[in-house]
């Protein structure tokens, strides 16, 4: 069964007198476990597409099936349930709760998924260990670096064992080396079977995907498979080079 299946997905926004076609007639299919990058200039509709796929919004026209289920007309609270069970979000600006420590931040989706307190703790702690933050579970976001915060966010996106991770410019707020670390992490998870849909305007970052979508004026203008670059290998090379230089 396909993970994502859209038919003529269209989103119009009211703007002043008329409407803006943020997305026009996008039809595509994504299989489970793919790593898809969405590229295009600013205003081309990438985020709109991601929000629709992420069930944060409903299309004006068109159909969207997620794991076989038509979700394009579901009411908000049903969509919330689907986001909670099937999807994980990673944002450019991390969006961690500032008052909560890393562990509580990662637990949050499980709270809304009605998982008991003990199980929440265990799963969140395991997930933090997985992203390399086992030692920093009780740090607050303000006590963590940008890269570490994004790791917490990734752990939070993963803790519900979603089918799909949606990432809007996940490296946008990070320096290039830290960005590379985050891409290595996303690629690693993707290898474990989680599909990733990532929006970026940065071609360097899009290289790590196995498939690249290009948007222009709200239309899907190109959809190409590609051989993904390996982020962890590049990272190792970078470390080697650094070591030799020192």
């Amino acid at each position: 069964m396909l993970l994502i299946e859209t038919q003529g997905l269209t989103k119009h926004y009211a703007a002043g007198e008329g409407t803006v076609a943020a997305l026009s007639g996008v039809s595509l299919a994504v299989s489970p476990g793919e790593f898809v990058a969405a590229m295009g200039p600013s205003g081309s509709g990438k985020s709109t597409f991601l929000n629709l796929i992420g069930c944060l919004d409903r299309p004006t026209r068109g159909e969207y099936r997620l794991v076989g289920e038509d979700v394009s007309r579901l009411p908000p609270d049903r969509l919330a349930g689907i986001r909670n069970r099937r999807l994980g979000f990673v944002f450019q600006s991390f969006n961690l709760l500032p008052r909560a420590d890393a562990l509580a931040n990662v637990e949050l989706p499980l709270v809304y998924g009605s998982v008991g307190r003990r199980e929440r703790r265990e799963r969140a702690a395991a997930m933090l260990a997985l992203v390399g933050l086992g030692e920093r579970m009780h740090h607050r976001p303000s006590q963590l670096s940008g890269g570490q915060q994004q790791r917490v966010a990734i752990a939070r996106a993963l803790v519900n064992e979603p089918d799909l991770i949606l990432a809007d410019e996940p490296t946008g707020a990070l320096d290039s080396r830290t960005g590379l670390e985050i891409m290595a992490l996303l690629q690693g998870m993707n290898r474990e079977g989680v599909a990733v849909l990532m929006v970026t305007h940065d071609a360097e970052i899009a290289r790590f995907a196995s498939r690249c979508l290009r948007f222009h004026d709200g239309r899907l203008v190109a959809d190409e498979a590609q051989a993904p670059a390996a982020a962890s290998a590049e990272l190792a090379a970078l470390d080697d080079g650094g070591a030799r230089a020192a």
Binding site: L56, G81, R99, Y112, E181, A184, G188, V194, A231
Partner: protein, 438 residues
């Protein structure tokens, strides 16, 4: 870099995305404990703000409890005092008198007589009557002396005023007729003259006339005017007229006031009307002349007082309730600020699966916790304040548990009511717009 390596250890999701996992039970949403913890955390993050907002509720609740409790205590005290005057009591005082067209003030000239009092016994429904005179006098027993009200009354006085005996007996009709020199002492006087010793059988002197103490009255306490009702020495009326008050040739049969007891179960107003009509007849008042006496129905006085006291405490309580309302508006204000400040948080919560009602509950619980915390401290402060006020004013304090419950309930409701709109605003946010908010 460590992370990707560690990954394979976990994420052992044997299933592919296509194979639908057993869907978790339709999410039951936030558990209450978690919601409370989160609400307290949010309030703790802005302690000063929470305290200032809670203060509004606190003041309102404390004021409601204090006004209601002190009001109830004061009312009960005064009602008790009115009751202590005697049940079913009518009292007649001299009124203003017209003399040759000149209106004299009340009490200018005594125009009530002992004979009026005796005649009133004929009125149906009147079971006991006493004509009374009273004067301030020095009473002496051995070395002790005391200045008190010496009151000349009829033996019915004790029945009229529901006055019980602590010791001894009242004087009899026989003794009254014979103008015998016997005295029944109020508790205050008995104590002042004789201390713990038994007063009955002892001798006291009033204006050098010796009296035998035949009884001591049970304590009544203060009357509504704040006078000590037990600071009195009661002697037969004619004894007072002849031996204590001095001869008053002009008004030898005059009394200061007449007190009457209406039969239990009889209509007080009707009895009072009959008394008035007989008095007018005896005083030969023409139909167009006003009463030359004042007739008071003490149960009317009690009812009037009770009504005005109720009105007063209602007024105070509603003033206090207004401050609770103001506190509630403070809660709403702070919750609106909080929702705006935390728009991104709300967006995030929605994105990761919070339903609208989860967000609604989160902010409602926060508002209710805030209001309840203010309310709980307000209850403690209100009770403390009531006792402090009661002590200062010398009133008993009746903590009205229903007022306490009401105040706590109202503060919770205030939180709910004033928290609802901000919470609904939060719940209705569009996740995308909320996430983009800065």
């Amino acid at each position: 870099m460590n992370a990707p390596v560690a990954l394979s250890a976990r994420l052992a999701r044997g299933t592919e995305a296509g194979q639908t996992r057993a869907a978790p039970v339709a999410a039951g949403g936030l558990d209450l404990l978690e919601a409370l913890r989160s609400a307290l955390g949010a309030l703790a993050a802005n302690k000063l703000r929470a305290v200032l907002t809670g203060l509004g509720i606190f003041i309102g609740v404390a004021a409601v409890i204090a006004t209601v409790s002190v009001g109830a205590g004061a009312r009960q005290q005064v009602l008790g005092q009115i009751q202590s005057l005697g049940a079913n009591l009518l009292v007649i005082w001299p009124g203003s008198v017209n003399q040759a067209g000149v209106r004299l003030g009340a009490g200018q000239r005594p125009n009530l007589t002992w004979d009026d009092a005796q005649a009133l016994l004929e009125v149906p429904g009147i079971v006991a009557v006493s004509g009374n005179i009273r004067g301030q006098n020095q009473v002496v027993a051995g070395n002790a002396n005391w200045s008190t009200s010496v009151q000349g009354s009829d033996p019915d006085l004790f029945a009229v005023q529901d006055w019980a005996l602590e010791d001894g007996r009242f004087f009899t009709a026989e003794e009254a007729r014979g103008a015998r020199k016997v005295v029944v002492l109020g508790a205050t006087v008995a104590e002042a003259l004789f201390g713990d010793e038994g007063a009955v059988g002892q001798e006291i002197r009033v204006r050098s006339t010796p009296f035998e103490v035949i009884g001591v009255l049970a304590r009544k306490g203060q009357n509504p005017m704040g006078q000590d009702q037990d600071d009195v020495a009661v002697i037969p009326f004619w004894t007072a007229r002849r031996s204590v008050m001095g001869a008053n040739r002009v008004w030898a049969r005059g009394v200061n006031w007449i007190s009457l007891k209406v039969e239990d179960g009889a209509d007080m107003a009707e009895a009072a009307e009959e008394v008035r009509s007989l008095m007018r007849q005896r005083h030969r008042l023409a139909a167009n002349e006003p009463d030359d006496f004042n007739l008071r129905n003490m149960s009317d006085v009690a009812a009037t007082f009770d009504a005005s006291a109720k009105t007063l405490s209602m007024l105070l309580a509603s003033a206090a309730a207004v401050s609770l309302l103001v506190g509630g508006i403070g809660v709403m204000n702070i919750m609106l600020v909080s929702v705006t400040e935390r728009t991104r948080e709300i967006g995030l919560r929605l994105a990761i699966g919070a339903r609208r009602r989860d967000i609604l509950a989160q902010f409602l619980i926060e508002a209710v916790v805030l209001a309840l915390l203010g309310g709980a401290v307000g209850v403690a402060a209100g009770i403390g304040l009531s006792h402090a006020l009661g002590r200062v004013a010398g009133w008993p304090v009746l903590i009205q548990m229903d007022a306490v419950a009401l105040a706590v309930g109202v503060s919770a409701l205030t939180g709910l009511f004033f928290g609802f709109w901000p919470a609904r605003r939060a719940a209705r946010l569009d996740p995308i717009a909320a996430l983009r908010h800065d």
